[in-house]
Each structure stands twice: as structure tokens, then as C-alpha cells.
């Protein structure tokens, strides 16, 4: 501890308040949730403390396997699309001037902050029969009758991309904007074309960031609760919808808690993977 300044700007006791708040309101709720996931279900809508694996055993069913498969594949598709579209977008964005960057970032942040309800409502309007793109296609003569494109798997994935895209860009933005421009300059001077420099220099240098963005968008869309209900059919309901459904409408808190714990483990494993990928980049 010799290299630390003689006196830190903040006294030691200052850490107590955030530690207490986060422990009480973040760690304790998680502890209770873990305990409830092995508790006994009380049909009156609450739970009795106990220890049984019953709620976890319910995972071993065809129904649950289907839900998991839908959740994972829908989020994987959305994450892949977001990163594919977002990566070039961010590269171009970070080469722009300060004012243009600020304006585009304001749009992205506003979209990111929009409530899922509003996004779901807007997209279902855009894809609806009376006010949607169906009208436009009809007017252009592409289809004989205006039609609705929602609810459908396509609408759901479009919605997830809509919430995931700003997130992907904001995760990619810091590493891309810090990428040394001289690196690309050097590649160009050595005779590489713009496209070659892009695939040969930019992408390999940012592999960690790309994997990180992919996994974070994946986890983010995995948690989407409203979009599957607003834009998808009931067979497209994801794990998040089922967790809320069990907790509030089926009054089965232990099962909801067990599903949450499971989802958390999946998310933590993926975030761990993302940080591993990030570390590799740091070492290289």
C-alpha cells in the first residue's frame, strides 16, 4: 500500500452507507428469493419455509424445454442481428464530428430509454392493418390487400432488435471510439483497401468487444417481458413472461423464484464469458 496517496479523498466510513443500502435492498432480496425457490408452495398464494427441490424438478419437462428453447433462440437471433447492424453503425458513428455524434447519441439514448410498452405499442401500430406498413405495400401495389404483420415471430424479433440495437451500439461505442486511428492509417499506407482494413484490422482488434456486446444484448433481450406478449403469440412467450405469470397470476412463488435463479445462472455464466472475452483482448 505504499503507492497510494498519503490520504485518500474519501474516508473509509463513507463506504458503509452504500454497502448497507445495497446489502439490504439487493443482496437480501436475492437471498430471500433463493430461499423461496426451495420453499414449499402454499396454495393460498404465499409459501411456507421449507427445503425441497420440487420447483427445480419441474424444469425437467417438455413444456419447460420448449420455453427455454424459444427464449434462447429468439434472443440469439436478436443479438446476432443487433451486433451485425450495430458494428458498422458504430464504426461510422465514431468517425463523425462531435455535433453529429451527440445528435445521434441523443436519438439512441431516447430509444434505449423508451418503455417496452411504448415500443411494443409503436411497433404493433407500425405493423398493424389500419395504420401500418401493410397500407404502404398495398399502395405501392406489392400486395392485394393491406394486412397486419403482428402478432408474429417476425414482429417479436423486430421488437427485440429495436430494444437491443441502441444497447449494442452503446456497448461497442467506447472501444471503437478509442481504437487508434493510426492503426487503420498504417493498414491503408501498407496498401490495404478500406474493406480489407475493416476486416483485417478493425474486426480482429475488437473481437472481445463484439463478443461482449453480443452476450450483453442477448442477456438484455432475454429479460424482455412485454414484447413477447404484445408482438408475439402465446407460443412465443419467453422465460421472463412465465416467471411473472407464475408469480402474479398462478401465485406460485417458489416456481417463479426457481426459474429466476435459473435465468440468473444463465445470465451470470454469459456475463462471465463476456468478461473473459474482454480480458483476452486486454492481454493481446
Amino acid at each position: 500500500m505504499t503507492d497510494t496517496p498519503s490520504q485518500t479523498a474519501a474516508p473509509r466510513w463513507l463506504g458503509l452507507w452504500p454497502a448497507a443500502m445495497l446489502t439490504l435492498f439487493f443482496l437480501v432480496p436475492f437471498g430471500i428469493m433463493l430461499a423461496v425457490s426451495v420453499a414449499h408452495r402454499d396454495v393460498s398464494g404465499f409459501y411456507e419455509w421449507g427445503f425441497e427441490w420440487g420447483s427445480y424438478a419441474r424444469f425437467l419437462s417438455v413444456f419447460f424445454a420448449k420455453v427455454m428453447a424459444v427464449s434462447l433462440s429468439v434472443s440469439l437471433a436478436a443479438a446476432a442481428i443487433c451486433v451485425l447492424l450495430g458494428f458498422p453503425f458504430t464504426v461510422f458513428l465514431s468517425a463523425m464530428g462531435h455535433t453529429a455524434q451527440t445528435r445521434i447519441l441523443v436519438v439512441l439514448l431516447s430509444v434505449l430509454a423508451l418503455s417496452e410498452v411504448i415500443i411494443g405499442f409503436s411497433l404493433s401500430t407500425l405493423l398493424s392493418q389500419t395504420a401500418g406498413i401493410g397500407n404502404l405495400f398495398h399502395w405501392l401495389g406489392l400486395i392485394p390487400e393491406p394486412r397486419a404483420y403482428t402478432p408474429s415471430l417476425f414482429a417479436l424479433i423486430a421488437g427485440l432488435c429495436y430494444i437491443g440495437f441502441p444497447f449494442a451500439v452503446l456497448v461497442l461505442y467506447p472501444p471503437i471510439s478509442r481504437l487508434d486511428p493510426e492503426l487503420i492509417e498504417a493498414a491503408r499506407v501498407m496498401g490495404a483497401s478500406g474493406t480489407r482494413a475493416f476486416f483485417g484490422v478493425i474486426i480482429p482488434n475488437l473481437r472481445g468487444a463484439i463478443v461482449g456486446a453480443f452476450i450483453l444484448v442477448f442477456v438484455f433481450t432475454l429479460g424482455s417481458y412485454l414484447l413477447p406478449q404484445l408482438l408475439g403469440r402465446s407460443e412465443h412467450w419467453t422465460l421472463s413472461v412465465h416467471i411473472t405469470d407464475q408469480a402474479i397470476y398462478q401465485s406460485n412463488l417458489p416456481f417463479a423464484a426457481a426459474m429466476s435463479v435459473f435465468l440468473m445462472l444463465v445470465a451470470l455464466a454469459l456475463v462471465g464469458l463476456a468478461s473473459l472475452a474482454g480480458r483476452e483482448r486486454g492481454a493481446a
Binding site: 463506504g15 439487493f26 432480496p29 415500443i119 474493406t195
Partner: protein, 266 residues
């Protein structure tokens, strides 16, 4: 690729992002109670209607109160946390940072269920303060990130100088660190405010049946069919978010706040 092509690509994506909002803005101008595009008998009727119907005003007030208090709480937790972690590297500092970042890195439905069971067990379920505290803790990450960025930018020599001049910890904090941090605290507050305003799942699971926030109200209203008021609320919310972020961009350095280092003001 040429510059024009790149700009076109960026503009197409932005247009796609804005398309649903444009349609909703147009739909909000419908005169009769219908969702048509292009709007029929355009009027601002439903904008006035929103402020006359108490079924919409109560959720609007709830949302604003919750967002204002929750954002304040998140800054009050994040500021000492960022200060403590700054210049320290130990297990405690790492654990605290992790706890501050965790709520945002997990799917929110997990935190929502955790909060719901927590308040059920403790007895705050269905109370507005439960929503405020839950949002405050959930959103700690945002001011934590902005304030930490601000601290990173403070020149250690400045603090050393203030100390040599005889300033104690409190004086140095009040006269040197705090004034430099205020813009970052304000933007952290604004980020948390906007996200709390739009947050659905936690508000719903903690107190959805008694304390209706605007997103909850919109979702409930959607089940009973569409009215142009839904579009009006969406437009107002989107405009409010854009206004707040626009102000941050106007008076602060948004690219730097979001992690860019090479951008200089032009």
C-alpha cells in the same frame, strides 16, 4: 466505402429506429377514436383529453414522483460509493463496485421478482415507497458510472495542491471535488430519472395493482383496446426523453459520458 455510403447507412438505421415513433405521432393526431395512418380529421383533441382524465393524470403523477425520488436515491447511494472506490483497490472496493453494477447486468425480471418477494416478506408490498426504493437501488449503476467517469477526469495534482494549501478532507471535497463532479451527478440523475419513468416490470411486480405508473397504465389500457391517448402518452414520453438527453448533450459532453476519449468539441 465512400463517405456518402456510410452516412446513408447510418441514416437508414436512424430512420428505422424513428419509423414507429413517427407513425405513433401521426396516429396521435386522429380526431375520432381510431388508429388510422395517415390520421383522419387531424386535431390535437387527445392531447387536451390526457390532461382532463384523472385515470391518466394519477399514473402520470405517480410516475413523476417515483422517478424524481428514485433518481435522487440512486445518486445518494452512488456518490459515496464512487468516492469510496476511487483511489482504493481492495476486496471491499471490488465487491462494492460489483454490487453497484450487478442490478443492471441481470435481466430485470430477476431483480423484479427479488424485490417483490422482499417487500412481501417485509410488508411494503403495494406501497409507493417500495417502488421508489426498488427503482433507486436498481438504477444505482447509472450515476455510479457517470460519477466514476467524472472522478477519473480529476487531476490528482489539483487535490494535492488544495491539500498543501492546508485544506482538510471536507474542505477539499467541498471546494475542489464536488464542483467538478456536479455535471456528472446531474447527468447520472437524468439517466436514472428517464429510465425510472419508463421502467415497467419492477414497478408492476412491486406495487402494480395499487400504485399505477404510466407504463403500467398504458399496458392495462392496451388490453381494453386502442385509443389515441396511448399514442399521445408515447409521444410525450419520447419527447421528454429526447429533451433530457438533448440537454445533457447541449451542456455536457455526451460522447465522453458514454465512454469515447478521442472526441473533442468542435
Amino acid at each position: 466505402m465512400t463517405r456518402t455510403l456510410k452516412t446513408t447507412y447510418v441514416l437508414i438505421i436512424l430512420a428505422l429506429l424513428l419509423a414507429p415513433l413517427v407513425v405513433v405521432a401521426a396516429v396521435s393526431l386522429n380526431g375520432p377514436q381510431t388508429l388510422r395512418f395517415p390520421p383522419v380529421e387531424p386535431s390535437l383533441r387527445w392531447y387536451g383529453e390526457l390532461f382532463r382524465q384523472s385515470e391518466w393524470l394519477v399514473p402520470l403523477r405517480n410516475s413523476l414522483v417515483i422517478a424524481a425520488c428514485a433518481a435522487a436515491l440512486s445518486v445518494v447511494i452512488a456518490l459515496p460509493l464512487a468516492l469510496y472506490v476511487w483511489q482504493r483497490r481492495g476486496v471491499a472496493a471490488k465487491a462494492l463496485t460489483g454490487m453497484g453494477l450487478a442490478p443492471f447486468a441481470l435481466p430485470p425480471v430477476i431483480s423484479a421478482l427479488g424485490f417483490m418477494i422482499f417487500w412481501m416478506t417485509l410488508g411494503g408490498y403495494g406501497q409507493i415507497y417500495a417502488t421508489i426504493i426498488s427503482h433507486g437501488v436498481f438504477l444505482v449503476t447509472l450515476p455510479l458510472v457517470t460519477i466514476s467517469l467524472g472522478l477519473k477526469g480529476i487531476d490528482p495534482l489539483l487535490i494535492e495542491a488544495a491539500r498543501v494549501m492546508g485544506g482538510g478532507r471536507w474542505v477539499v471535497f467541498r471546494t475542489v471535488i464536488l464542483p467538478l463532479l456536479i455535471p456528472y451527478m446531474v447527468s447520472g440523475y437524468a439517466f436514472a430519472f428517464v429510465l425510472s419513468l419508463n421502467e415497467y416490470i419492477i414497478a408492476y411486480m412491486v406495487a402494480g395493482f395499487t400504485v399505477e405508473t404510466l407504463p403500467i397504465k398504458i399496458f392495462n389500457a392496451l388490453r381494453y383496446g386502442y385509443t389515441p391517448i396511448l399514442a399521445v402518452v408515447s409521444v410525450i414520453f419520447a419527447a421528454l426523453s429526447a429533451l433530457i438527453f438533448g440537454l445533457i448533450g447541449r451542456f455536457g459532453n455526451l460522447p465522453r459520458l458514454l465512454g469515447a476519449e478521442r472526441v473533442t468539441r468542435d
